[in-house]
């Protein structure tokens, strides 16, 4: 079990993308398509015989030497390290990169990449922000059809509908397993450590779905066999690190300081749907409708039918959390904005919260540690 988690940690941290290189060696005609956070219709990519890969910046594994000059001050780190990955040749295993309408910096990065890497297929998906309008379903279906046509051009062959349905089924299974692990972790957080679940789920970013599903099953058995005792911790929800990722050290620190992380949005893209995507009928329509009606609440998607501040409160209650810790990447504007209404909602409901700021490449955590310890103590001895 520990070996499996260690392996996941290794592949998540390796910015040379060994799993992608291996897959490409095994599939000489295969293409790898990276996607920037948070969500992409991976089923369509996989149905083209391509490997969809979640691209999450370079963390603390790459010194920024070139990208600073292109993006300047006040811009988040993941935008810079993603460009740095390109400028230092680390994106070589990829044939394309997809972006979507999550924030202004990421959108501009899409086009900066396009200019600097003309050999790459770089595309921007407009994921709708008006789910209240019936027309958004037809629009998103057409957007997915456009993506499908681009991928067909790149692959040099047609993508069969049946193949997309097959991939939807495979990803449904994968997401189902992840959702179940999350449920279980909320029940027994001492059994499944947050950092372990994190690397386990995130490994799916860089693995073929079948391989990742097998890994999840193996981990499930491993967790079940564990002999563990509950710790004296408070139940917290971690929110706002949905794009740039904190160093693993920060997640460990939170647990060591006395937090049971009973939910988080770190790997939201890997469990994007609250329920299965239908496997019958037009698969692109099913994916489009699922995005609009079955998605989890997220800072990168507007849905006023169910505002995300209400969704957070609901999550707190469903997970029986005692507090919320906002873990915001420096310069992440969507997260900073959402914090204001989240805070208002939590304060109305009398739920304690703590705001922490991080950068993917931070390496000293003393200040964070003190803040978390103080917060946890204030709750434990309240």
């Amino acid at each position: 079990m520990e070996e499996l988690i260690r392996r996941c940690e290794e592949i998540v941290r390796d910015v040379s993308f060994p799993t992608v290189r291996r897959w490409k060696a095994e599939h000489p005609q295969g293409k790898a398509i990276a996607y920037f956070p948070v969500y992409a219709p991976v089923e369509v990519i996989a149905a083209a015989g391509m490997l969809p890969v979640g691209l999450r910046g370079a963390g603390d594994r790459l010194e920024i030497q070139h990208a600073d000059a292109r993006f300047g001050s006040f811009i988040c780190s993941i935008v810079k390290t993603t460009l740095e990955l390109g400028l230092t040749g680390h994106l070589a295993p990829f044939d394309g990169v997809l972006f979507s309408s999550i924030c202004d910096s990421a959108r501009n990065l899409c086009f900066v990449l396009k200019r600097n890497f003309p050999e790459l297929y770089v595309d921007f998906l407009h994921l709708p922000h008006n789910p209240e309008s019936a027309s958004s379903r037809a629009f998103l279906r057409s957007e997915y059809a456009r993506l499908k046509a681009e991928l067909e051009r790149l692959a040099g062959r047609r993508i069969e509908e049946e193949r997309i349905r097959e991939m939807i089924a495979r990803y449904n299974e994968n997401r189902r397993l992840i959702r179940a692990l999350y449920e279980w972790r909320a029940e027994e957080p001492h059994r499944i450590r947050a950092w372990e679940l994190y690397v386990l789920v995130r490994a799916g970013d860089v693995l073929p779905v079948e391989e990742h599903t097998a890994l999840l099953r193996e981990a499930r058995e491993g967790f079940a066999r564990r002999q563990v005792k509950p710790r004296d911790s408070i139940r917290v929800i971690l929110e706002s690190a949905f794009c740039e990722q904190p160093p693993l050290g920060v997640i460990r620190l939170l647990e060591d300081a006395g937090c049971y992380i009973v939910d988080e949005d770190l790997t939201l893209g890997r469990r994007w749907f609250r329920e299965d995507v239908p496997v019958n009928g037009d698969p692109l329509q099913a994916l489009a409708e699922s995005y609009l009606d079955r998605s989890v609440a997220s800072s990168v998607r507007h849905d006023w039918r169910y505002p995300r501040f209400r969704a957070l409160l609901q999550k707190v209650r469903a997970r029986r959390a005692q507090a919320v810790i906002f873990l915001i990447a420096k310069f992440c504007e969507p997260a900073y904005f959402d914090y204001v209404l989240f805070k208002r909602e939590l304060e109305r409901a009398g739920i304690p919260h703590l705001l922490l700021e991080f950068e993917e490449k931070m390496y000293t955590f003393e200040r964070l540690q003190t803040e978390v310890e103080t917060f946890v103590e204030s709750l434990l001895f309240d």
């Binding site: 001050s73 999550i102 501009n108 922000h129 027309s135 505002p307 904005f337 204001v340």
Partner: protein, 420 residues
């Protein structure tokens, strides 16, 4: 005083005061209805068809900044939980609402509808979610697909048209006013006329010397352009503005007695230091002959016009493809290239503003393109459009001076310099 001050400025002031008076009337009496919307690719024609007065939070925010009143509301918003790195336009707007502060001193109405015309800027969505939540007002996000390719697709257009029609129903239900297609066509016809006039004004800046500054003076014209574009007052204003500037051009009058440099400016201005910033260019007698900021609401100098025969479709096209913010970053590079070539500029000024990532994220790459690919001298400076705490006056002045000194040397030597 370096810039031109004539009828245009006087009339602009009157028009903007009249707008604030209408907002005040709406706040006092509940009529006319008022709808919040954003400047970028705004669909003010549709509001005009209903006789609705627009509230533009960006205009309110910049008015506060230019009057040195933005810091207090920004701090009030930060008290509420906004971060130092959030867009300061949003903070000033929200803070001003909380404090009951308005640029005119009059009241602002509670919006009948908060209409987020999502045209590129993701911050718009958050901003209007907050306005709607804090004021407990209804919200409609009009989702405009970002321009991923050269032109919008038929699916993009159909999606926006469908939403515009939904919006009509929503407004009818909220105001009790029936939509009048003829009135809509009339509003679109006014816009078409204003756009043609505004485009001719912009093309006057191709003359040497340019009769007006297409950055600093253009801002004076932008208020009426967004608030009155779809009205007869707007047409009248732009007719006289064009006549006045054409007369100036005919007399061979420039912004300065002798125009020394012609520049293109990219990025919004530092409103809290508007005067000081302008003076930095005035002392070098540098005229902006084109600017990207003046195309946030719409790009008309390359030929696009609203069309009363296709009102919904052209309103959609305007929102999708004919405004700066919904066009992709590389299209902006190309827009600047066209300005440099066709408006014959000596260089480009990039003003990075901390608040606005839509404008600023990647401007280093833009500079790389301008200097290395186009070989255009480019100055890169940083501050903010609303927050006075980010303006390092001496440092910016030094960089501006260094740029023009070098540009002058190069001009004299007949060589081209590149970047500062």
């Amino acid at each position: 005083m370096t810039e031109y001050r004539g009828w245009i400025h006087q009339r602009q002031k009157e028009l903007m005061q009249r707008w604030y008076a209408r907002l005040d009337e709406s706040a006092r009496t509940g009529w006319p209805p008022a709808i919040c919307l954003m400047i970028s690719g705004n669909c003010v024609e549709l509001l005009e068809a209903f006789g609705i007065v627009p509230i533009y939070p960006e205009v309110n925010a910049l008015q506060l900044a230019i009057r040195h009143q933005s810091l207090e509301p920004i701090l009030a918003a930060e008290e509420l939980g906004y971060a130092t790195d959030n867009c300061a336009y949003v903070k000033a707007d929200i803070g001003a609402y909380l404090m009951g502060l308005t640029p005119s001193g009059g009241r602002l109405p509670r919006p009948t509808l908060v209409l987020c015309n999502f045209v590129g800027c993701n911050t718009y969505i958050k901003w209007f979610e907050h306005v709607a939540a804090l004021l407990d007002a209804p919200l409609y996000v009009l989702d405009v697909p970002f321009l991923r390719g050269e032109e919008p697709s038929p699916a993009d257009i159909a999606y926006v048209v469908a939403q515009l029609k939904e919006l009509v129903q929503r407004i009818e239900a909220l105001t009790g006013v029936r939509f009048d297609l003829d009135r809509f066509r009339e509003a679109v016809r006014c816009s078409q006329r204003v756009e043609a006039l505004w485009s001719r004004i912009k093309h006057l800046a191709r003359r040497e010397p340019s009769p007006f500054d297409a950055y600093f003076d253009a801002i004076t014209l932008m208020g009426p352009l967004y608030v009155y574009r779809a009205t007869p007052e707007g047409v009248e204003f732009f007719e006289r503005a064009l006549a006045e500037l054409e007369a100036k051009a005919a007399r061979g009058e420039g912004v300065y007695e002798c125009e020394r440099f012609r520049v293109v400016v990219e990025g919004p201005p530092p409103y809290p230091y508007f005067r000081a910033f302008r003076d930095m260019f005035a002392r070098w007698r540098a005229t902006a002959v084109a600017s990207t900021y003046s195309t946030v609401g719409g790009i008309w100098e390359f030929g696009f016009r609203h069309d009363p025969d296709r009102p919904f479709e052209t309103v959609a096209l305007h929102m999708l493809a004919h405004n700066l913010t919904n066009r992709n970053y590389l299209q902006r590079y190309d827009q600047i290239r066209r300005y440099v070539e066709d408006w014959r500029a000596d260089g480009v000024i990039i003003h990075f503003v901390k608040s606005c990532r839509l404008f600023s994220a990647g401007q280093g790459d833009m500079r790389d393109y301008l200097t290395k690919v186009l070989g255009v001298p480019t100055l890169y400076i940083e501050s903010d459009l609303e927050d006075p705490r980010y303006f390092a006056e001496a440092q910016i002045r030094n960089r501006v001076d260094a740029f023009f000194e070098a540009l002058e040397r190069q001009k004299r030597a007949g060589r081209r310099m590149i970047a500062v």
